[in-house]
Amino acid sequence: MAEPNWLQHALGVGVFEFRRSVRAIWQDKARAFLMAAGLVFPSLMLVGFIYLFSGVIRDIGTVSLPPVARGTVALLWLFGVFIATQRVVSARPRIDAESLILTTVSARTVVGGLLVAETLRVLAYLCLPVSVLTGGMVYLFSSPASALLIPLAAVLLGLTAVLVGMVLGYAVALLIATSPFVARHKTVLGGVAVLAAMGGYLFVTLPQFGGVGQEALAVLPVGWFVDLAVIGSPIQGSMTRAAVVGVGSLLVVVGGIALIEREATRLWFTDPVSGEEGQKEESDPAATTSKETRTALADATAPVRIPRGISQPTRRVAQWSILRTRRDPRRLNFLLLPVVIVGSALFSSGMQAESPLAVFVPAAAVLLPWMAGATFAMNPFGDEGSVLPITLISISGLAYVRGVMLPGLLLGLPIAVLVTGGAALVGPFELPAAVGLVGVALLATVVAVSTAPAVGIWFPRFSAISIGQSREVVPPRLVTTAFHFLGVTGPATLLTLCLLNPRFARTLVAGIVGFLPAALLQLVAGEDVGVLSDASTWFYGIGTAVQSVSGESFQLVGGGLLVVGAVVITVLSYRLAVRRFDRYSPSL
């Protein structure tokens, strides 16, 4: 039973939670800027499209709604469900200030509040593009119904996707909380689920490679929100389908809330099982006890072994870095953004290339090293958290920085080198090119591993983001991650191009350092003859000079400079990180 005013309280909880999210985003200005840019840019594109093609669109007249439109909306809805599920499982299985909220209001109120908050978050993302779309439809077709029905369809789409995602998310979270097997293998199972979802996405979106195409999803009622949205416009949908999604949404809301309330109540008031429960019972208690007292860290990080020759302080820092990453893989969420953005682009171009390995191998030589560096050492001070003052007075900067670099070298380096080398030998590469790619992977890994702690220690992030209940999860700053990513993958890509296609690398460099700035300066200068025009001519000269170098010479000189630069950066980063550690004074 919920309290009498539960609906009103749920709205209060939802609005309060939403405000907290907005404040948290606003505190990280770079993140807020990127999110705003991600909303404004496509909306402006849409405005431009509507403005430019308004005449053509009006002339088309009445058309029937194509199945691909329903399929696209269905895909969008499924994506929303995936995100909502993932957020519940990894970020919000339990609530903030749980002891306060659960002794103040009913579980139904909390569930309603979380649903309101999550829907508001979705609508905040959809608000601008949906407003532009609505305005565009009203402007193009003088259709007042669109002003009501497009936002309504968007709200229903967001609300139902969030609801279904929450139902699935709480079911998974409950499984993790009650099944020792699932708790123990949640990282692997989660990875399989994400891969399955990505596979499903590719199966639907890549008909040219055996997929079904988005229009196949048009049969799903979740794509019929578009039928509701186009009522009153010259685009003719199906009234029956519109009615089905309208009524169906109501049923989903009522049934979904009831279901989530049951799941969440069980989850919040159940004592969660530990993934280590079964394992402890299986081992010999006497042996474990005597062993754990002496080599607990080494046992916990097995099968990874840190060589005994390394000093004990460095070894301990390395072991703890590995253990922290293994026990709390959620801290690696920040790796997903660049991997997904670059990975999806690479996947598309790889699938369209003559041999996918021609794209994937160089990509592995560039991306795996970055991951090797970023996985363990992108925010060492933030990872230390409240222990940082103790760490600072317990160990030298030299030992500490070596310790946080070590996991990347011990684990990341072999993976980057073996994957790149193995795939290069199988792929369309001559032996010298394959060896060169392995060399790139090797060098890039060393650079990535040494620059990550330097960047992370100079620009630490201490404030936690809400990932589950753990206040220890402190991802690196978005700007730091982007800086490290571009700083490692940019030069590594250029070195790879120098190796595989020096002429293209030469043209690229000539464009970046010469022709592009020359063109921009000339654009600003216009017809005027002056400093800007002179600068433009100077840059153009540089571009021409670079372009005049032969491919072989460019490969030798450009590649050589990049290698020397990498060595210098590695040494400098290492020394900077050590110095910063030794002189660091934590704020109160």
Partner: protein
């Protein structure tokens, strides 16, 4: 009618028994000092009594309501856990008004009560309008305390309420606990600061290894049964929670 009553209350986590056959009752409007070493089961007991977790066996009522009936229990209780449950992004005013709203408290009276309590605890309006993320541990503790008693609960569960407070604020909290009790609120107080218990508690229960090993008034607990000489509550606590086999004798003396 007792405000809190437990009968054979037991909580097990796998093979570990956190709370073992707990029987006690706390009369209305009194302060019950709940003591025990770390890991004795105090927090688990409080979580059961506040409905946050369910007992494995046995039963308990708070303000006459079974603790398993969470919806009926909520209006009667206030809870200050050891870690103050606050939202970093909110100010104290925002947090307290939010919680008051969730409890349907009348806004004018609540506003006055918030101001009065914050003033008693030396939290200025400027402090209260500052984000909680910028608070010291003591300031957080003060806001969490106000939050727990804002709605004038029948039973207040306070876990280490004076933790992190300066002596002045700690004294104020002790006075406020006394006033709460005078106004009819039953206070279930868990703390390691024994002088606090000695000063404010009417009855003290000592939990050890999930079992209630002693329960009496502070005066009686500090009195040696055999010789009649007095000792400090700390001495009594250490004796009762010692791993020494001799504790079996003390259990008989005080149990």
């Amino acid at each position: 009618m007792p405000s809190i009553e437990t009968t054979a209350l037991t909580k097990r986590y796998g093979s570990t028994t956190a709370v073992d056959q707990l029987d006690f009752s706390v009369p209305d409007g009194t302060v019950y000092g709940f003591l025990g070493p770390n890991g004795a089961g105090k927090t688990t007991t409080m979580r059961i009594l506040t409905g946050l977790t369910t007992p494995t066996s046995g039963s308990a009522t708070v303000a006459g309501v079974p603790v398993t009936n969470r919806d009926s229990l909520r209006p009667h209780i206030g809870y200050l856990p050891e870690e103050p449950p606050l939202y970093e992004q909110a100010t104290a005013y925002e947090q307290l008004e939010y919680v008051a709203g969730l409890r349907d408290l009348p806004s004018r009276e609540t506003q006055n009560r918030i101001d009065e309590l914050l003033d008693r605890l030396d939290l200025s309006p400027d402090d209260a309008a500052t984000r909680i993320a910028e608070y010291s541990k003591g300031m957080r503790q003060k806001v969490a305390y106000v939050q727990a008693v804002l709605h004038d609960p029948d039973v207040a569960f306070l876990d280490e309420p004076t933790s992190g407070l300066d002596p002045r604020a700690a004294r104020t909290i002790r006075e406020l606990i006394g006033e709460l009790s005078d106004e009819g609120t039953t206070v279930f107080l868990s703390t390691h600061i024994l002088p606090v218990v000695e000063e404010v508690a009417d009855t003290v229960g000592i939990l050890y290894d999930g079992k209630l090993v002693a329960e009496d008034t502070p005066d009686q607990l500090t009195q040696r049964a055999e010789t009649g000489e007095t000792r400090t509550l700390e001495d009594a606590f250490l004796e009762l929670t010692s791993t020494d086999p001799a504790q079996d004798d003390t259990e008989e003396t005080y149990g």
